[in-house]
Symmetry: C2
Subunit: 221 residues, 2 copies
Amino acid sequence: MTYCYEYPHPAVTTDIIVFTVQKGRLKILLIKRAREPFKDTWALPGGFMKMDEDACDCALRELEEETGLKDVYLEQLYTFSTVNRDPRERVISIAYFTLTPSEAITLKPDTDAAEAAWFDMQDLPNLAFDHGEILEMATERLSAKMTYSTIGLQFMPAKFTLSNLQNVYEATANKPLDKRNFRKWILSLDLLEETGEKFSDGPQRPAMLYRLKDPNSVDIF
Amino acid sequence: MTYCYEYPHPAVTTDIIVFTVQKGRLKILLIKRAREPFKDTWALPGGFMKMDEDACDCALRELEEETGLKDVYLEQLYTFSTVNRDPRERVISIAYFTLTPSEAITLKPDTDAAEAAWFDMQDLPNLAFDHGEILEMATERLSAKMTYSTIGLQFMPAKFTLSNLQNVYEATANKPLDKRNFRKWILSLDLLEETGEKFSDGPQRPAMLYRLKDPNSVDIF
DNA sequence: TATTATTTGTGTATATTCGACACTATATTA
DNA sequence: TAATATAGTGTCGAATATACACAAATAATA
C-alpha cells in the first residue's frame, strides 16, 4: 500500500528527552537502535507520527512502546527540520522533553529498540541523527526552566524530603545550594505540604516527607 | 506528478506571527486568504514547506512572498499538530514569530494573499484554521520574553529615542512604566549607544537618538 | 522677542529581595 | 550511652526594585 500526494511531503517523527535525577546526577534515557539507519547506536526514544494522533500523543505512545514509561508530563521543545537530518528521506522531528522521578522504572524496550538505559549527562555516547543537538537544546531549556518555573517538582516521587528536592535542584544547576535559603525559597512558593510522615535511611535524624499540593501544575514565576 | 510513500505523511506548513508597535499599540500582520479553504478570511501569513528548505527558510520565503517583509528575526514558537486542523488533509504547522519596526513597510500581497494589513491586537477579526489559538500562544510568549530578554529591541528602527522604546514596552505590557526607572534599567543593560543626533517632532525639547550596539543579538537576563 | 506648550532628562530615599553564614535536634548504630 | 550523620532553623548586610517631582530645551505663538 502506498500513499500519494500532489506535492512531496516530509515524514514526521517525535523524539523525547526523558530527564531524571539519580543519586544527585542528571540522567537521560536513551535507546539503542535495533534497525538501520544508525543500527546499534544510542538515540533518543521516538518514532513516526500516525495520521490519527497529534504529535504529543505520538510522543507518549512511542515513549511507552520503547521504554515502558507512561503517564508523563510532556513539554514541546522544538521542531527540527534541517533538510538532510535523516538519510532515509526528508524527516522533520518534533522534540518533547519530560521529567520523571528516579524511582524504579522498569525499562521495557520493544522491537524498535534493542535496549534502553539511563546515561549520566556528563558521560554520553555519540548519538544517532542530530540527537546530540536536540539534547543540547533540551538541556539548556531544562536549566532555564528550573530557574523560572516549578518544573523541577516533576522530578519528585509522591513523597520526598526537602533534601531530596534540593539534590534535584543542585543536579540540574550543577552547583551546591545553601540549605537554609533553598528551604526558605521552596516553602515560600506554597506548593508543598507536609505528609506528617518521616523518613530516614541511616543513623541520623529522620526528615519530614512532603508532597505536592497540586501534582500536575507547572507554574511560571 | 504525484509523490508516493509507503506510509502516510502529513503536509507541513509554517505560519508566521509578525508583531509591530504603531502609535503605542501592539499590532499584527494578517493576510486575507485568496483561496479556499477559508477564502476571504483573515489568516496568518505562511504556507507549505518545500523539500529543499527547512522550516525557518520556508517561513522567511512565505513571509516575503505574501507581505514583502524580509530580513527579519524569526523565532520558533510551537508546532501545531491537531489531527483535523486543516479541512484539506492532515497538516501540521510550525509557527514562528517575528518583531519588526513600525516604519513604513510596503505590504505587497501576492497570489496566495488577496490583501495584507496590520490589525490592532485589541480589535482582531476571526481567523482561519486554528490561527486564533496560535496567535494567543504567540502573544503570551511575546509578553513573557519582553520581561526576561532583550527581544523588545527588535521592534526598534535604526535610530530611536528612549521614549520610543518605552512606548514599545508599554504597548506590550499594556501598562504605563515609570520614565526614570525605565531609563535607568534599559541603559544599565549596556545595549544602547547615543548617536549624537537629536530628534523632535513638535514644540518641545528634542530627544537624543540611540542605536543598538549589536542590532542582531537577543539576550536572556 | 517674550511667553506658552510640550516633551526630555535627571536623583534620592525607601522597601523588598537575595545571599552569606553556624549551630542545635533527632534518630540509628556500634 | 557515645558516636555519627543528616535535619532543621534565623539574622544581618548587600543589592535590587520601586516610588516619586522638577528643571531644561526647543518650537510655536502672541
